[in-house]
Amino acid sequence: MYGTYLRRELAGRKKQTVIVAVGLAIAIALVIIVNALSAGVRDAQSQALSSVYGVGTDLTVTGAQTEPGQGGGTRFDFGANDGATQDGTTSLSQSRLMTDMRRGTLDASTVSTVTGLDGVAAATGALSLTNTTFSGQVPDRSAQAPADGATGTRPEGERGGDGGSAFGVDSFTVLGVDPAASVGPLSSVTVSEGRPLTSADAGADVAVVDATYAASAALTVGGTVDVGGTAMQIVGIVASTSSDADTAANVYLPLDVAQTLAGVGDVVSTVYVQADSADAIGSVQSEITAALPDATVSSQSELASTVSGSLSSASTLISNLGTWLSLVVLLVALSLAVLFTISGVARRTREFGTLKAIGWSNGRIVRQVAGESLTQGLIGGVAGLALGLGGILLINVISPTISVGSQASGRGQGGPGGGGSGMGGPGGFGQAAAQATDIVLHAPVTPVIIVAAVGIAVLGGVLAGAFGGWRAARLSPAAALRSVA
């Protein structure tokens, strides 16, 4: 009889049932979608970070930030006889391989220092470089003025200089890595063509190239890429394990080769550290900070805060507007459910008075009211779940892309360096460019979302039922019958 009465009551007041169910459904759908989007943004953040730092990196150690102006700029010096002259025009081209001038390097021994600390499972060093190629044409000045040795070229557009000159600056990022390392940027890549770097490649002029960069620069396995004026043989093409992100750099070289080409000695720019366990991260960070007081030690959560671009905006939007919106709608829906149930009890005063008069106990009436509310909530829950999953499906079908710019480790867009006469340095812009990428936002469905939806539905039903039942239980049968007599 319980089920029959409950079913008939809900069916008998369709309008109220539909309003409450729709209100709850919208609230639950919003919660599901906001929740899924938050998870999607978190995934995108971790995707962006893993493409830069590799899988399993818990901490990074970088050199101290340099004072503005300390770094110096890239300097291109051409001798009087440099370049090839033809028809009164001299063609010049020069490549420079430089470290990030905004941040100091670390001695390579830092890696072994970190590896020796308690709680460190693995550590590896990488040297982050920017290869800048300056190329262009200038009028043959030997015919205009006596050669005076090395003369810095003037920037394009500078008045009073070499009219008719045309210059171009091209840059790409280079990462010197230890091929044997289990952590670091190469741990999050897959080899799409050729082979990865191996321990046997130490000292060899070989490189692997990021798939996106290889496509844009028309580079293939077996070909060469000019790094710091040396032709490196391309042995492999690598892509991010995430189909939506690029890898950490455009070109990867064995660490020792990168150090030699850059002429920086036995240094690294970043040490990637993996802790024994998630619990150990804090203590490892403290240990490293104590052992290397001049270095900057960053955890994943600190790295996450450096992820910028529209991903950051999306994260802010979802965590602020989305959460508040779903909370407000949820509150309205729950209030609606409670108010409708209470007004339903008031409207059914005679019915409950009659039931009490024919012997129904308060408990039996409360169970009836609560059961109706709970069922109403569950209907809303199922509808909300369907609506929410539909919304998530729609988001995944549309697959919105979010731009991500990682300024991790301070490697952002660099300003012009303090160049000498002639061309100012490009600073660190090449690295920042490599870390700017578009990530497709997916809204994943997790069991937590399903449980949350059912939980909210049950909560709505129980709350409404509790209030309604309480009101029904308080009705005196005599007063209930008298009020409608």
Binding site: M1, T4, Y5, R8, E9, A11, G12, R350, E351, T354, L355, K356, A357, I358, G359, W360, S361, N362, R364, S476, P477, A478, L481, R482, V484, A485
Partner: protein
């Protein structure tokens, strides 16, 4: 139908009932002494506000007196707990209301079943009692009709079936023919007389003299006191 019959169904002694209404104390019942025999057919008449409905609520264990005692069999309603009052209403007392008070979304049989719900009977026993009660009020063929599909007289017969299906000691009716035309009124009175003839104690509050004429005892209540008792 098995009725639990004792010599006296109700014994009321010096029953008073006062309540507060808009800062005033209203004396609804002012010292009622009354005995109703088992199997009797009693009507209560009187002016509006005379205390008829209050008395019926005392008899129906819907309310407790402010003073005195209301004995239903061996149970004093004035002293009984809420749970005991619920049990009395569920098992010993049948109620019929002027407005029928059926649940509009349920069929006739389901409405009758609602009266059996608190008894915790098994399904076959409930089905048997529902069929029996509907047969006794002449509505076997309308068991699957909802109240909106029945006439006023038929609805009141469903309400009577709901009240008698539990096999109560007494049947209390508050203006059971108040919403019915003459032919339907007679139809209901015939049913009630038949039930009384089978031994069921009937207490009916009514304004209708035609109903009162069918009773064996007629009480007149005014100002919270019984002013007249007429016996056939």
């Amino acid at each position: 139908m098995t009725l639990t019959a004792t010599a006296t169904a109700y014994r009321l002694h010096d029953v008073t009932r006062t309540y507060r209404q808009r800062e005033r104390t209203v004396q609804a019942l002012a010292g009622i002494d009354l005995e109703i025999d088992a199997g009797d057919f009693v009507t209560i008449q009187g002016p509006t506000g005379g205390g008829k409905s209050t008395l019926l609520q005392m008899l129906g264990a819907l309310d407790r007196p402010s003073g005195g005692s209301v004995m239903l069999g061996e149970v004093d309603i004035a002293q009984a707990s809420n749970a005991e009052l619920s049990r009395l209403r569920a098992a010993e007392i049948g109620f019929v209301f002027q407005g029928f008070n059926l649940i509009p979304t349920l069929t006739a049989a389901e409405n009758v079943d609602m009266g059996l719900e608190p008894l915790g009977l098994d399904r076959p026993e409930r089905q048997r009692r529902i069929a029996d009660a509907l047969a006794r009020v002449g509505l076997s063929d309308r068991h699957d009709h909802r109240p909106g599909e029945l006439s006023g007289g038929q609805q009141q017969r469903v309400a009577i079936a709901r009240a008698i299906a539990k096999q109560p000691r007494v049947l209390l009716a508050d203006e059971p023919t108040g919403n019915l035309d003459e032919s339907m009124r007679d139809e209901i009175l015939d049913v009630l007389e038949t039930l009384n003839g089978e031994g069921l104690t009937l207490v009916v509050v009514t304004h209708d003299s035609a109903v009162a004429r069918r009773a064996r005892r007629r009480l007149r209540l005014a100002g919270g006191r019984i002013t007249d008792i007429t016996r056939d």
